[in-house]
């Protein structure tokens, strides 16, 4: 099927291209249909992708939004259509911050926010620093670069489960080093339960996330002309001056995208906390994605879970929108 379509699709394009090379050969109405044809063709070719995009992305999203207005509990999951409409009840429960469900959601939201800011900040800092240090060629650079990318390349489950073993109270490597060998703590600490779980989660998240920042910044650095550095060096600028005045301003467009992507990924991260803590995370590390999972799958109330997801979607949309407006406004004067 698809080769056929491809062939017929290339034919009009060639025709249009041929026509373009002979301007003035056509007049009046024929010319106008030609223009419509030219304008219409790209849209036509995009149509299959658009339909599939609707199917794969938008339809499930719309279903999710519809679910959030239903009382979809275990009594109805077999036949969703029969679930009674709940109006705004699911939303009311989710944002009633005086009641336990809303309170827990708000708590989880703040935990996630703190976690995301710290994780993105550290990922960016370590990634950028490493990329800058690796900019000059030296022996073993290729090996180090490859090594740095390992955490990013590992399958999430395999990587995080290894951390679970390392964080174990009784036989974990972390306690072995911190307590047994260095003697930094009075007694072995718990990392997977209680308050320390936040730091365990942050550690794994940064470990897993910074190679991506490293990779992107490294690519961005390739585009900075070497002459700029040479000129700066001639003018007597040191390493720090060079980074501040040349590297960081040149990386700005790259960083803007990088930080946004890292923010969205980290904020929505489900795999890391789920593998680390199982289906119910400790309060100190109760990230919103796992919290929503718990609200829907563990209590079998998919309506409330959907409502929380929709709220999360709205929040991320607002943040992304504000961020894009803000950064593009900043960018324009700098170019002008």
């Amino acid at each position: 099927m698809s080769p056929d379509t491809a062939m017929t699709a290339t034919a009009p394009a060639a025709e249009a291209a041929a026509r373009k090379t002979s301007p003035g050969a056509e007049h009046g109405p024929r010319r106008r249909t030609g223009r419509i044809r030219r304008i219409g063709l790209p849209y036509l070719l995009l149509l299959p992708a658009l339909l599939l995009e609707l199917l794969v992305h938008l339809v499930p999203m719309v279903i999710g939004i519809v679910m959030s207005f239903k009382e979809l509990t275990q009594f109805y999951i077999r036949d969703w259509g029969a679930a009674p409409w709940a109006g705004l009840d699911n939303y009311k429960v989710s944002v009633d911050f005086d009641a336990p469900v809303g309170q827990a959601l708000l708590h989880s939201f703040f935990v996630t926010l703190a976690f995301t800011v710290l994780s993105v900040g550290l990922c960016w800092l370590i990634g950028t620093a490493a990329a800058i240090f690796m900019q000059d060629t030296f022996r073993g650079r290729g090996l180090l670069r490859a090594l740095f990318l390992v955490p990013y390349a590992l399958p999430v489950y395999a990587a995080v489960i290894t951390w679970v073993f390392m964080f174990q109270h009784d036989n974990g490597l972390v306690n072995h080093v911190l307590h047994d060998q260095l003697g930094l703590t009075d007694k072995p600490s718990f990392w997977l339960i209680g308050d320390n779980s936040f730091f365990a989660l942050l550690t794994v998240s940064v470990w897993k996330g910074w190679p991506f920042a490293f990779l992107i910044v490294m690519a961005g650095l390739q585009n900075i002309p070497r002459e700029l550095y040479e000129a700066a060096a001639l003018d007597g600028a040191g390493m720090i001056q060079q980074v501040r005045r040349i590297t960081l301003p040149s990386l700005r467009p790259v960083n803007q995208v990088l930080v946004l992507v890292l923010f969205l990924w980290t904020f929505n991260d489900f795999n890391t906390p789920f593998v680390l803590f199982g289906r119910t995370a400790p309060e100190a590390a109760d990230l919103i994605s796992v919290h929503i999972y718990q609200a829907s799958f563990v209590t079998w109330n998919f309506g409330t879970g959907s409502a929380m997801s929709v709220l999360l979607l709205l929040f991320l949309l607002v943040v992304t929108g504000v961020y894009l407006v803000f950064t593009s406004r900043q960018r324009r004067p700098s170019h002008g």
Partner: protein, 438 residues
């Protein structure tokens, strides 16, 4: 012009074709059928020490079934961590196995989804009648006023496993009968890296099973008679506190157990790190970890005072696995035949011996294999002093909410924070507020 039209037609047809194939799987019918009579899919729960061991136990039996009936059974052993989610997904999508194992405590919750075939009198007749099964096992197959959602397959009960040598070394002559005795014995053992008893502090279900028994012993329940959650009554609070205090106050559980959820406490017991263990049907598991049969003893779970029995002397939940038929099965008759096969006297003997559980089928229970001293403790417990967990639709949510609350309390105890009546009550209040309102 013609070529554009052709391109447009092509593009539309292509996208329609893709759309159609993407949706093609969704043709679900409301009830079951017998459209594919020669095939069954069976989801087994993980009963042995590993998924691999289960496959080795079950496959020969499935081959036997194929020889008798010509029906090929595709086996998948699903780990406990995934089983409930897999069943929920199957219920939601209508795409699932034909026959499946469920934890018997989930019976009422899953019954409420309507995804499982109800076992009315007619269905029971096809597998030899309801009276072939033991009453206590039938008590965990769904809500009281409805037809059972499943049929009992394996029965289990909690028992106190104790390391004979370790207790003797600590000067304890006989296994403890009351909790006071257990704490006293535990304190004698707990020194020099050894501990009195092991627990799975991060496993919500284990926590629930113990808290439920403690509550029964204090004359309390977690649900009112009409099925409403009642987690904060005095008896329930006392029960949860007594359980967590084994670590917090009595200090006979190693703090590290607070993060156990993968049966590490069984390994600790097998390795001689802990002297006692409350577990259901641990024998096969202990053997696979290299613990000799004669190095440990099996006694009834302790009570507050006196001897195990009904009422406040309850010392175990009715644990077990039920076999259910998925309502959407396209081989309902074959599935029923398979249930008949699995609950036949012969298969019950083979399977329950392999898993060191007790057959819920009366005739099979009479077999000599289930009269060993170890099995008689379990059998007596099931017959006399075990009670089913509440058979209410919200049971699964209760397991998670209260089980997690107890997990957090264990985390407090392990981290050196005080566990008080007030903190237990606060944790249980929060758990109750998470429960569905209706």
């Amino acid at each position: 012009m013609r070529s554009i039209r052709a391109a447009a037609t092509g593009a539309v047809i292509l996208s329609l074709a893709l759309t159609a194939t993407a949706c093609g799987g969704g043709s679900t019918t409301d009830g079951g059928s017998n459209d594919s009579p020669k095939e069954l899919t069976y989801w087994a729960s993980n009963q042995g020490a590993s998924v691999e061991i289960d496959k080795k136990v079950l496959q020969p039996e499935l081959d036997k079934f194929e020889k008798q009936t010509g029906i090929k059974v595709k086996l998948e052993v699903v780990p406990w961590s995934d089983l409930l989610n897999r069943i929920l997904t199957a219920a939601t999508s209508g795409q699932g196995p034909d026959v499946l194992n469920i934890g018997n405590t989930w019976s009422a919750s899953l019954q409420a989804t309507g995804a499982l075939m109800p076992w009315d009198a007619k269905a029971f007749d096809r597998i030899g009648g309801k009276d072939r099964f033991v009453d206590s096992a039938l008590g965990s197959t769904g809500a009281e006023d409805q037809d059972p959602a499943a049929v009992p397959l394996y029965s289990m009960a909690y028992a106190l496993y104790y390391n004979k040598q370790m207790l003797a070394d600590a000067g304890v002559d006989a296994p403890p009968v009351t909790w006071d005795e257990l704490v006293a014995a535990g304190k004698k053992v707990s020194k020099g890296g050894k501990w009195g008893i092991g627990m799975e502090g991060s496993n919500p279900s284990e926590n629930i099973h113990h808290a439920f028994v403690f509550a029964q012993q204090h004359g309390a329940d977690f649900f009112t008679a009409d099925g409403k959650p009642d987690f904060t009554n005095d008896g329930a609070v006392t029960a949860v506190k007594q359980y967590v205090d084994l670590m917090a106050k009595d200090k006979i559980i190693a703090p590290g157990n607070a993060e156990y959820a993968q049966n590490q406490s069984v390994s600790d017991f097998a390795k001689g790190k802990t002297a006692m263990l409350l577990w259901q049907s641990a024998s096969a598991n202990l053997k696979s970890q290299g613990m000799a049969d004669d190095s440990y003893g099996i006694a009834p779970v302790p009570v507050q005072s006196g001897t195990p029995g009904a009422g406040k002397q309850v010392n175990s939940m009715v644990a077990g696995i039920n076999l259910a038929v998925f309502k959407n099965s396209d081989n309902i008759d074959g599935a029923t035949d398979f249930v008949k096969f699995m609950t036949s006297d012969a298969e019950q003997k083979i399977l329950n011996t392999a898993y060191s559980s007790i057959p819920p089928v009366k005739a099979a229970q009479e077999d000599a294999a289930f009269n060993s001293p170890a099995n008689s403790v379990l059998k007596d417990t099931l017959a006399q002093s075990a009670v089913a967990l509440p058979q209410v639709p919200d049971e699964s949510q209760f397991e998670t909410a209260v089980g997690t609350a107890i997990k957090d309390l264990f985390a407090d105890a392990a981290g050196g924070r005080e566990v008080t009546t007030a903190s237990v009550e606060a944790a249980l209040t929060k758990a109750q507020q998470q429960m569905p309102k209706k």
